[in-house]
């Protein structure tokens, strides 16, 4: 069976969509030489007209893409650093996202914002280690965080085909994941997946943390039957799929690489308790409130949600009822 890395899955998705649809093109910094090792080979295959290196002008090229989308193209933007999304939050949220409603449905803005290497990259410190997916979920921009190579492919394809703006976070912690892949296919936006069935507790894990949740579930297998639910899309969340899982297990733990306050874990817990009577109080494992990732590796790790915390949270939830 062929092994596919997460990065190459992203490359394949870009190449397949560029082949399928002439209107798809790429914009970004240093993408012709594939500095982030995602756009590798695409310049040669598709030419400079469809693989555009931009000046360091994130605000201009993000809105340039909005304009190109208004005119019928499907731009895919690559961002070198997750925090650059703060710089272009205005362009994505206040313009691209709002145009369809504000114009009364006169237009669509099919732009994909791809962030390869979101979250901690270990040793890149405060300004390169953000994971701002909850911000986009909050404002209602379609947001996906694929955990596996197959999903990286399938969700990026669906993002490019979507008629609305979509932010694709490819966590640094997942970029080196490899998997046996039989069929590559689009993965529908807004559809979660049970990664591991279980009966005692549902662990919702986002992005790279899916792999940690699976490892913890295996470690605890003789004590607790853990179901791991990967929402894949954080806006819109697959509430029915999630509620189905928690209805079966009756317990909920969420592990999420956001800062705690107003992070997606809070929204997941709130929505589940609105719909399901739980057997024990739900718990979440997140970055601390207001966290800035410090540089030293031990500090960086201390601020991220980890396996020990997740194990403790699962055990507490089981003890509570």
């Amino acid at each position: 069976m062929p092994r596919l890395s997460y990065r190459r899955a992203l490359t394949r998705a870009l190449a397949d969509e560029m082949t399928r649809d002439e209107s798809v093109f790429l914009l970004g910094e240093d993408i012709r030489v594939a500095a982030a090792n995602v756009t590798s080979g695409l310049l040669k295959r598709f030419g400079p007209e469809r693989v555009l290196d931009t000046p360091l002008s994130e605000q201009a090229f993000t809105s340039f893409a909005t304009g190109a989308a208004l005119a019928g193209l499907r731009p895919v933007l690559e961002f070198q650093i997750p925090s650059l999304l703060f710089l272009v939050f205005e362009q994505i949220v206040n313009h691209a996202h709002k145009f369809p409603l504000m114009t009364g449905g006169q237009c669509a803005v099919p732009v994909t914002y791809l962030v390869p290497g979101s979250g901690s990259r270990t040793g890149w410190a405060g300004q390169h280690s953000d994971h701002p997916y909850s911000l986009f979920a909050h404002v209602g921009v379609t947001t996906v965080v694929p955990a596996t190579p197959a999903d990286a492919y399938g969700l990026l394809v669906s993002a490019i085909r979507c008629d609305d703006p979509v932010v694709v976070f490819a966590p640094a912690g997942a970029l080196d994941v490899r998997a046996d892949v039989v069929d590559l296919a689009p993965v529908p936006l807004g559809r979660g997946v049970v990664r591991r069935p279980g009966t005692d507790v549902t662990v919702v894990a986002v992005g790279h943390l899916v792999h940690d949740a699976l490892a913890v579930a295996d470690e605890l297998a003789d004590q607790v039957s853990v179901e791991v639910f990967d929402p894949r899309t954080l806006y819109p969340v697959d509430w029915d799929g999630l509620v189905g899982s928690v209805s079966r297990t009756g317990r909920l733990v969420v592990v999420d690489d956001s800062n705690r306050s107003c992070g997606i874990a809070g929204e997941i817990i709130a929505t589940v308790v609105e719909r399901v009577r739980l057997l024990a109080p739900p718990r979440r494992v997140t970055r601390p409130d207001g966290a800035v990732l410090p540089f030293a590796p031990a500090l960086d790790r201390a601020v991220q949600p980890g396996r020990d915390q997740l194990t403790a949270a699962i055990q507490l939830t089981m003890k509570d009822g």
């Binding site: 090229f61 304009g67 989308a69 206040n94 009364g104 449905g105 719909r275």
Partner: protein, 322 residues
């Protein structure tokens, strides 16, 4: 491109009377949130749009009624939009500051100062890449020339030679901040820094604006890159209609009087025989009377559909619980 002085006058007059009728509707409570009146600046939108073709693209500003009307949007549907009616250009979802009419090439007024230039640059680039022979014009105020995102757009358009006309409506103030207190160097000098030709014109003279635009657009259509036109003008009324209730003192009365003495309606009107001018005036009155009647007779949108059009993909926002 129209050389017809009557048509140019008609646009100037239409925008003028549209704004005056809109202010009446603000006072009457039919337009909520107020407007940024374009009074005094009509010659710029009228002159620029007279030099454009139907297929060319435009983006406007918070003071954007003139840009939308100048490009050919239906005044009745524009007024209905201002009144928040479902028959409005944006089905009541945009209002004064977001009025858009993609059908006539208006990709929207944009309420964020300096934001629209990059959007228009991308749209013109994309359409030309598909083989469409068109150019764009993006309007912005003197306040926008210190916004980084607009300066980034200058660079991108010039670098990639996208034929966009950057039209600066220099009315001397950004709200209450005078140009002298905000702009280091010059506005035209910013264009020079990016290798863009710049033309400074009298924005009160619609024909001068039209001719400068026509010359720039001709160079752009012949393969030239973006250009800048800086049109000097004067805002006759408030920054926003809220000032009608709250008098802010920042423009000396003699300056206001001098500014108002150069009225684009009169400057262009004087180029018409009196009878022709009177005929246009009467026609504009009739158009606007019908527009007001249409707007006020139109129903408001259904609150149950408040978030309709939020997602082009058909996604619907979660409202109540679960």
């Amino acid at each position: 491109m129209t050389h017809d002085p009557v048509r140019l006058y008609r646009t100037v007059r239409l925008i003028r009377r549209f704004e005056e009728r809109a202010i009446e509707l603000v006072r009457a409570g039919e337009i909520v949130g107020g407007i940024h009146p374009y009074l005094g600046q009509e010659g710029i939108a009228a002159g620029v749009c007279a030099a454009l073709r139907d297929g060319d693209l435009v983006t406007g500003t918070h003071r954007g009624h003139g840009h939308v009307l100048g490009k050919g949007a239906d005044p009745a549907r524009m007024l209905a939009e201002l009144c928040g009616r479902v028959t409005g250009l944006n089905r009541g979802r945009g209002g004064s500051m977001h009025a858009a009419d993609f059908g006539v090439g208006v990709l929207g007024a944009n309420a964020i100062v300096g934001a629209a230039g990059a959007i228009l640059t991308g749209a013109v680039w994309a359409r030309r890449r598909r083989g469409d022979d068109l150019v764009g014009a993006t309007f912005f105020g003197d306040g926008a020339v210190n916004e980084g995102m607009l300066l980034e757009a200058f660079n991108l358009a010039a670098l990639w030679r996208v034929p966009v006309l950057f039209v600066c409506e220099n009315n001397g103030y950004a709200t209450t901040m005078p140009v002298a207190g905000a702009v280091a160097g010059t506005i035209a000098g910013r264009a020079a820094a990016f290798g863009m030709p710049a033309t400074v014109v009298d924005g009160q003279d619609p024909e001068q604006v039209r001719d400068a635009t026509a010359a720039a657009v001709a160079r752009m259509r012949a393969g030239g890159g973006p250009e800048l036109v800086e049109a000097h003008t004067y805002r006759f009324d408030a920054h926003h209609t809220f000032e009608h209730a709250v008098r802010l003192e920042y423009r000396p009365p003699d300056e206001v009087a001098a500014g108002r003495s150069r009225d684009p309606v009169d400057i262009q009107g004087a180029r018409l025989p009196p009878a022709a001018r009177a005929a246009v005036d009467a026609e504009v009155e009739a158009t606007l009377a019908a527009a007001v009647a249409y707007a006020l007779a139109s129903p408001p949108p259904d609150p149950a559909a408040a978030l309709e059009h939020l997602y082009a993909s058909g996604l619907t926002a979660r409202t109540g619980g679960g």
